[in-house]
Structure formats: structure tokens, C-alpha cells
């Protein structure tokens, strides 16, 4: 299976997750700002700080994840694959505007690259792919409302779509055995992203909202 086919199948997975998020309404629905793309200074600084924090936090995990994936292939790092995108979900929870997740993704991975991610500047590729996938899920929901379920699916989509960049970078399309490992790992990637990114990001957002310390938490 070639890389374009893997990309196409992953796009279909992301769109499918978006459609599920749109039509299956589970949990309490919270409102977002719809297609409001006007980021205020406060939004930009919040996203920058969240990206810096996640960049620092994720750098150690990134080294472990890279080593596992490089040495053992797609299955070895799958459980950790979803541990990087909690910041995207947290940023969306606080900012609630389209593009917040992809901006945090790019900034977070840029910080990781600067702090010594063993993939260098190519780390930004994960920020872009993962951020876009999470955005697509919430774009299909028109950015109008979200719940734990839709944010979980956004995390899952981000986690799975990020593996396209890994497949390109680490050469996971070279032999049929590795390709079959790649698809075997996808359910693990999805669950990992749902829990470690979607639910963790939302939980952090709600904890921050409860503190009442930050003006950014709005009235949610």
C-alpha cells in the first residue's frame, strides 16, 4: 500500500469521525463561537502560552515516543500516540474559535523542535497534520457546539491523522508487514487520542474553569 492510499484512508477516517461528532450528540453540549476567525491579542497569547507549556511537557514524552516508534514500528508507540494533543483541545476549550487547534499544534511542535525533539524541524509536520485533523472534526460540527464526545473524537482524529506524517517520515509504507502493523495500530491510536488528548484536554479545561482565576474560562 502506497503512502497516498494511506493518506486517503486516513482522510476518510477523519471525515467519518467528524460526521459521527456532528450527528451523535452525547453529553452536555457547550457553545462555541461558530466561524469567528478573529483572534484577539488575548487569544493569541493564551494559545502561545499553552503551546509553550505543552511543548515543554511533551518534549520528554516525544523522545520516548520517537524511540519506541523508530525501534518497534507502528505498534510500539501507538499507546502513546494520543498523549500529545491535549493542548489543542484545551486551547479550543478556552478560545473556542476555528484555527486555535492548528495554531497551537504548530507552535507546540515548534517549541518541541527547539527543545530537542529527535525529529528536528520535521516535528512541525505532526503539529500541522494533527491540528488539521482536529479542526476538520469540529469544522464538520460547524464549531457551534461541543461535548466530551466531540472533543474526544477530535483528539482521536488528531492522533490517527498524525500517523500519516510518521509513516512518511519513518518509512512505514515500505513493506507489507509494516503497513499491516500500521493498520493494526490504528484502533490503539484512536482510543489513545480520545482519552489522552480529548478527555484529558477537556478535563484540564474544566478544572481551569472551576478555579475562576483565568478570565479566559468564560462562563462555561
Amino acid at each position: 500500500m502506497t503512502l497516498p492510499v494511506m493518506l486517503l484512508l486516513n482522510v476518510l477516517i477523519v471525515v467519518l469521525l467528524g460526521v459521527i461528532a456532528r450527528f451523535v450528540k452525547l453529553g452536555k453540549q457547550e457553545s462555541a463561537e461558530g466561524w469567528n476567525l478573529a483572534f484577539t491579542n488575548r487569544d493569541l497569547i493564551l494559545m502561545a502560552v499553552i503551546a509553550a507549556i505543552s511543548g515543554v511537557v511533551n518534549t520528554g514524552t516525544g523522545i520516548l515516543w520517537s524511540a519506541a516508534n523508530a525501534a518497534g514500528g507502528p505498534l510500539a508507540g501507538a499507546a502513546l500516540q494520543g498523549a500529545f494533543m491535549w493542548a489543542y483541545i484545551l486551547a479550543f476549550f478556552l478560545v473556542r474559535k476555528p484555527g486555535a487547534m492548528v495554531i497551537v499544534g504548530v507552535l507546540d511542535t515548534a517549541v518541541e523542535a527547539l527543545l530537542g525533539n529527535p525529529s528536528g524541524i520535521a516535528t512541525i509536520g505532526w503539529g500541522v497534520t494533527q491540528g488539521i485533523a482536529a479542526e476538520v472534526v469540529l469544522a464538520i460540527c460547524s464549531y457551534s457546539s461541543f461535548s466530551w464526545f466531540s472533543l474526544g473524537l477530535a483528539g482521536a482524529a488528531a492522533s490517527q491523522f498524525g500517523t500519516v506524517w510518521t509513516a512518511y517520515l519513518f518509512g512505514w509504507d515500505t513493506t507489507p508487514e509494516v503497513v499491516s502493523q500500521y493498520w493494526l495500530a490504528s484502533p490503539i491510536n484512536l482510543v489513545s487520542g480520545f482519552v489522552l488528548s480529548g478527555l484529558l484536554g477537556l478535563a484540564l479545561g474544566k478544572m481551569i474553569a472551576r478555579t475562576g482565576l483565568v478570565r479566559a474560562t468564560r462562563s462555561s
Partner: protein
């Protein structure tokens, strides 16, 4: 954690004098060229060229290079070993006792090793020799709205603050008797607490920063001025041109002459 492995080191070298955008362009060029190479030998030559650029042209201290070498080579070695193990074997090259080395896995392992090592070394070289402020001004020069460029700069500015914050929170927890040498579950809970505290403190700082910059009218005008304007430099353009010719020469050599 407080001492950053990778940071800009101010030095006097032709590489340091090159402008930030040329160096960014150079990294992209090196990465793209590496993906175009078809033989391990071409990638090895590119890697040697980068090593020469780092140690001789950019005068990166051996000590800095040595300290980050596990990051440059660690994952690359593992990736090379993985591809060596999974690549089908057809052509025997030589044997060591009863163990036969085949051409295909050696080629694949070497290819992935050098591909990753080149990418990481080029990125690190950019970090060692480029002031992030200059990079931000350069990105604004390219047309990125300055508020977004400022967000990038802000994220980078916050890194040392957050690292110190993590240390302070860890110390505070340790004083209260919550040592790190504890069972995994407890360590996970500690981790959650660190993360939450660091995020809340970070967001509070972000709020204050937002109020401060807005009260100074940041973002009121579509353009802004910089104390140091971006300018393309001769050394930067030369660096890009040298590597364009070097990459093209390697591609021509491996496809038509090798």
C-alpha cells in the same frame, strides 16, 4: 531541566552572520534534497557536509555537539535498525561468521539513519546560530501578520519561564513530602498536579501579558516597526546557493554517473 540543551549561542562566524530566513530556507532545502536522494552514499555525503558546516563554518563547540549527539543519532540509529530488520533480503554482500549481511537491508537502514540524522542536525544548526527575534522579524517580512509572529515569539519567550515554573512546583511538592520516588499511580497523580499548577500559573501570566500589550495599543495598526529590520545577507544567500549546487551535484552524480 533549567539548562537548555539547545539554545542560540552568540558567536562570530559566517553562519551566524547569515540572515534568519536564509538559514530557514537552507534547512528546508537540505531536508527536501535528502528526501530526493536515492543512495545512502549521497545522504552520507550530505551528512558530512552538514557536520563540516556545523563544526568548522558555524564553529559550534564540540561540547554542545557532544551533548546533543544522543538526540541527533539515537532515534536515527533505532530507525535504521528497524528498517534493517524489516527489509527483505536478496543480495548477499559479505558474511561475518555464519551471519550474512545483505545489500537491501543495509541500504534501507543507512537511508533512514542518514535521512533522520541530517534533518535533526540541520534543525539544531538553525537553533544554535539563529536569534529567534530575527526569525520572527523575518517571518513578518515574508508576510506573516505581526500579531501571529509575536505569538511565536511569545511561545519561545515563555519556554525558560515554564521550565523554571516546573522546577518550582516540583520543589514545592517535594518540600511537602511528595517525593518522586513513589509508586507509578502516585507519580501520575503528582504529574497531574504539576501540569495543572503550571497551566494555571501560565494562563495567569498570559492574561497579564494580554492586558499589558493591549494597554500599549498592540495590534491597533496593520503595520508595526522593529528596532532591527530584516535584511537578506550575502552570507545567507551564499549558503543557500552552495547547498543548492551541492544537492544538485549529488543528485546528478547518483543518477547518471554512479
Amino acid at each position: 531541566m533549567s539548562e537548555q540543551l539547545l539554545a542560540y549561542v552568540e558567536k562570530e562566524s559566517p553562519f551566524h552572520r547569515a540572515d534568519a530566513l536564509s538559514k530557514l530556507l537552507w534547512v528546508i532545502l537540505v531536508v527536501l534534497a535528502t528526501f530526493q536522494f536515492q543512495t545512502t552514499l549521497s545522504r552520507a555525503m550530505m551528512f558530512l557536509a552538514l557536520l563540516f558546516t556545523a563544526l568548522v563554518v558555524a564553529r559550534v563547540p564540540w561540547r554542545s555537539f557532544w551533548r546533543v549527539s544522543p538526540l541527533i543519532f539515537g532515534v536515527a540509529v533505532l530507525l535504521g535498525a528497524f528498517h534493517y530488520a524489516v527489509t527483505p533480503r536478496f543480495t548477499p554482500l559479505f558474511s561475518m561468521g555464519s551471519y550474512v549481511i545483505f545489500r537491501e537491508p543495509l541500504e534501507a537502514g543507512g537511508a533512514y539513519f542518514f535521512r533522520l540524522a541530517i534533518m535533526v542536525l540541520a534543525s539544531f544548526l538553525l537553533i544554535w546560530t539563529t536569534d529567534t527575534y530575527q526569525l520572527m522579524v523575518g517571518l513578518a517580512y515574508l508576510g506573516l501578520p505581526y500579531r501571529y509572529a509575536f505569538a511565536i515569539f511569545m511561545a519561545l519567550r515563555y519556554i525558560p519561564l515554564i521550565q523554571r515554573e516546573v522546577e518550582a512546583v516540583q520543589a514545592a511538592h517535594a518540600i511537602r513530602g511528595r517525593a518522586v520516588q513513589s509508586p507509578l499511580k502516585h507519580r501520575f497523580r503528582l504529574w497531574q498536579r504539576y501540569l495543572f499548577t503550571v497551566i494555571v500559573n501560565g494562563l495567569r501570566k498570559a492574561e497579564n501579558t494580554a492586558i499589558a500589550i493591549e494597554s500599549r495599543g498592540f495590534g491597533a495598526y496593520p503595520q508595526r516597526t522593529y528596532w532591527k529590520e530584516f535584511r537578506w545577507t550575502r552570507s545567507g544567500i551564499l549558503l543557500v546557493l552552495i547547498f543548492v549546487f551541492f544537492s544538485l551535484a549529488l543528485i546528478v552524480w547518483e543518477r547518471f554517473l554512479f
